[in-house]
Subunit: 532 residues, 2 copies
């Protein structure tokens, strides 16, 4: 069938077209819809009626030189948006970048051009590099609705992505944002896949390796599901939200920094995907690999040490799973020309004693100052990670890194470097001997004697978050006992700090429901085999 | 490892607990979030801070005797919600069923109990009947967020559901709502999987089979993606939103009805799932079968004739696809003890001449009145479907149904029955010889002579919707030519009616982009093989 198109069209009432008014007045609606653009139109708005828009369909909002896509919510209250107004949620308003009262037009949005590729992925097809570029570009531009994002996340999890596709996805995510070039042959970084409270090794590894002379421009995230991220903890000691030019200057002068990564626009699609992965609790291997490696490569890293903790309440719970994840990381890193060293570490319990920004900053400073109260596990783990990175130096023999790192720490050179970085970023007053903790607290005590046989990472994180972390930096949990410690009845297991009585109440209820600690016999302490 | 739980907990400042205030004042926020419960809390609300809520996390809203779940949007405008207020979107407000100003408490929601099963399905496991019951119960209670709903829809599409699982899902969807029992051995119904504009056979089949004495309590939906649903078209002639008791009375007295199904609470989970399937354009076989059969079984049907149209722009585009779909419908219907007759029909073009509620009502009334202008295809298809249902009667021989149906129609008994039903439901004034159509119109003309070789169902539906359907009932498209008709240059292909100039403008733009008609040689008209 060869169709021939033979039509003409005439308007019976041509003058009618002149009445079409498609302009609306922009209005900022102060609702945080969390990385989804939402537009609000009144049900009686002529354009809403005319376009046959339906709730949840997508519309395109246009000004003279910008256009964004948004999901539509229909409003029946003239106080929210009037009939001649277009309301935009915070994210959408900022993305459009116009002032309140500006003139905009709206139209039914063409689906993002990558929707065809998305549907092919949903149908189980293998996608090529161009498909991933198109999808990730649309995601980064917030052209996907939450529903489409979720469809992408679900359709690419489990074994739905082969390792070649994970490589394509990683590549596309790097390309979706800015990439940094430090103009040095060796740019080192470390990263942990997460899930272990208190695991603030970056704040020790960076000053150690920078003191050794390696370039380590570390950018970190704030807490997403944890009680504190490295950026939150560093913020106790110094400013972390730095203009990119200042950050680059600090890195060039001091060989390292500990800054928040949000200002650098590295792999922006990642942040959008996280907004649906997190509430869904999906953290599949392919997506994790693409997320982490894209951020690191965009940041200009050439050498990465990656920490995969393993334990009964860690993200990875068995050695075969850890090794499968390691192989995927290694394959993609190799395709992306990133030198990667994966270490599989002990994730049976929180690292250090403190959970929460101020408490974790205290632990970090105690390690740097070689204070006898410094948590030994945090010190040892940081030294080993730093040692691995130091061995990336062409002049260091394999196996010598740990001793070099220890010498840098014990000699006070790591502390001096940290103080330089803190000063450069903008020092904040902090006394680790007298940290300002929440005014309210309660202790959780051992009911009977025995040995600590389990500390639940997830429950300790929950209690710390209910106590106010990460928003209230002085809130958190201070662990008095770690795995294998012997306790008698009445010993303090941990102390919870909060600033507000309601926070204390919620944290206490959670600890009553489950303390997170198990006490038993020494032989019951679970073993863990690590590759470090 | 046998963990022994030995803890006690004491509050250092026990009086603090008395300060905890968790009560908020309920406020209706007039935003239609389309079947997702959304709650609005001010960023400075003490409870928002205390609970460590994050945007998009789910909260539970409780009153003395009700509780609902809602996704959280954070608000920065005191005019929208105050610090002591909890805002709820329209759906959520109605579901909670309290008045503005009522006292409610909120807490971080426990995940719906079926989330474990959802995650197993996402991981590719086969679920059992109990899993589907739990998931569908949570969906019907609006306990799933859009993100979780999408995850379920994507994880159960394609071949992810085996036919046994489709049966479990169907069963669970029936159980999620009300089921009707008409206390008769034979309750007949017909259904079409959709996608063909103008396909208003129900409004002919119901009066014909009811006139024959069969019980046919037909409930229909309004248009979802089409220019008009059966409920929209029937509403031109009579009231369709009827209290259930009245509907039941009409059915008992007149053996049939043509009502909107929304008031009956049949398979409510289906309506929720549709809210994400539609924007995503997912309409997988398993979900379609569960959706349609659950509605019919909940409505008390014992015998169903199911119409699967097939054609280049229909939902099903090849005979093997149609047959695969037929087998799945038959398997599940058989497990549910529903007698099912599947017919595969001609879906190459719209049925009848009119597209849009008033135009389709005109076509239906012309067929009932045996008006010479009645569209022959609508008449023939309706007679064949009615004939199939009539053959369900124990006293009708196979093959005799069509002739009986034709006799009922030609003799005026179908028209008389329709008038009874219209009167019982509440007649509206309508003159099919002089239907009130949109004041504005334009014609689309043939540019050259030839034979109509294609009419795009999707494009005709789009043009009708842009012209105002289904909201503006007098808007729509009137087809002057059908497949195989010969035209000369300047002949009218179709006329578009609109009530508003902006609607006319948008419809005209769409028809200029693509008229939906192709003109060529007689031999180019596509053939279709049907099973009818």
């Amino acid at each position: 069938m060869k169709p021939t198109l033979n039509i003409s069209s005439k308007a019976a009432q041509p003058q009618a077209l002149h009445e079409v008014g498609t302009e609306l007045v922009l209005r900022r609606v102060a609702i945080d819809t969390y990385r989804e653009n939402v537009a609000y139109l009144h049900r009686d708005c002529a354009i809403y009626r005319a376009e046959g828009f339906q709730a949840l369909s997508k519309i395109e909002v246009q000004s003279a030189d910008k256009r964004i896509l948004a999901s539509l919510n229909v409003v029946d209250d003239l106080a929210l948006v009037g009939c001649h107004e277009l309301g935009l949620s915070e994210d959408a308003f900022l993305q459009l970048g116009l002032d309140d009262g500006a003139t905009v037009t709206v139209s039914q949005a063409e689906p993002p051009s990558s929707i065809g590729a998305l549907h092919r992925k949903i149908s189980g097809e293998r996608l090529n590099a161009e498909d991933f570029y198109a999808i990730v570009r649309d995601i980064a531009a917030l052209r996907y609705s939450k529903i489409e994002l979720t469809a992408f996340v679900v359709a690419t999890q489990r074994d739905e992505l082969d390792r070649e596709e994970v490589y394509f996805l990683t590549q596309a995510m790097v390309a979706s944002g800015r990439t940094l070039d430090w103009h040095e042959p060796l740019v080192v970084d470390k990263h942990c896949i997460g899930g272990i409270p208190g695991n603030r090794t970056s704040m020790l590894v960076v000053p150690i390796v920078a003191a050794h002379g390696l370039l380590c421009p570390k950018t970190s995230s704030r807490a997403i599901t944890s009680p504190a991220g490295t950026a939150d903890t560093m913020e106790v000691l110094a400013k972390v939200e730095l203009p990119f030019d200042l950050l680059a200057e600090i890195v060039r002068e001091h060989r390292g920094c500990l800054a928040w990564g949000g200002t650098a626009n590295l792999s922006p699609a990642d942040d959008v995907l996280i907004s649906v992965e997190r509430p869904l609790g999906i953290d599949s291997a392919g997506q994790m690999v693409a997320s982490i490696l894209s951020k690191k490569i965009a940041a200009g890293s050439t050498h990465l040490v990656l920490d995969i903790p393993i334990g009964p309440t860690a993200k990875v719970r068995s050695m075969p799973d850890a090794q499968r994840l390691r192989r995927l990381f290694e394959y993609v890193a190799s395709r992306m020309h990133l030198s990667l060293d994966v270490v599989i570490t002990d994730g049976r319990q929180p690292v250090g004693n403190g959970i929460g920004a101020v408490l974790e900053a205290r632990d970090v400073m105690r390690v740097l100052e070689n204070d006898p109260r410094a948590p030994i596990d945090l010190r040892q783990k940081s030294l080993r990670l730093a040692g691995r990175l130091i061995e990336c130096s062409p002049d260091v023999r394999g196996g010598d890194g740990f001793a070099i790192a220890r010498d840098i720490l014990d000699s006070g050179r790591a502390l001096a470097k940290m103080n330089q970085i803190i000063k450069a970023q903008g020092m904040k007053p902090f006394d680790h001997n007298n940290p300002e903790l929440g005014q309210l607290s309660f202790d959780v005590l051992a009911k009977e004697g025995g040995v600590i046989t389990g500390i639940d990472n997830l429950q300790m994180a929950t209690i710390a978050r209910l106590a106010g972390s990460p928003k209230v930096i002085c809130a958190g949990v201070d662990l008095f006992q770690k795995l294998g410690d012997a306790v008698v009845k009445g010993d303090i297991l941990y102390r919870v700090y909060a600033q507000y009585s309601s926070d204390l109440h919620f944290a206490r209820q959670a600890s009553l429901k489950s303390s997170g600690y198990t006490v038993g016999l020494l032989g019951d302490v679970p073993h863990v085999f690590v590759e470090f």
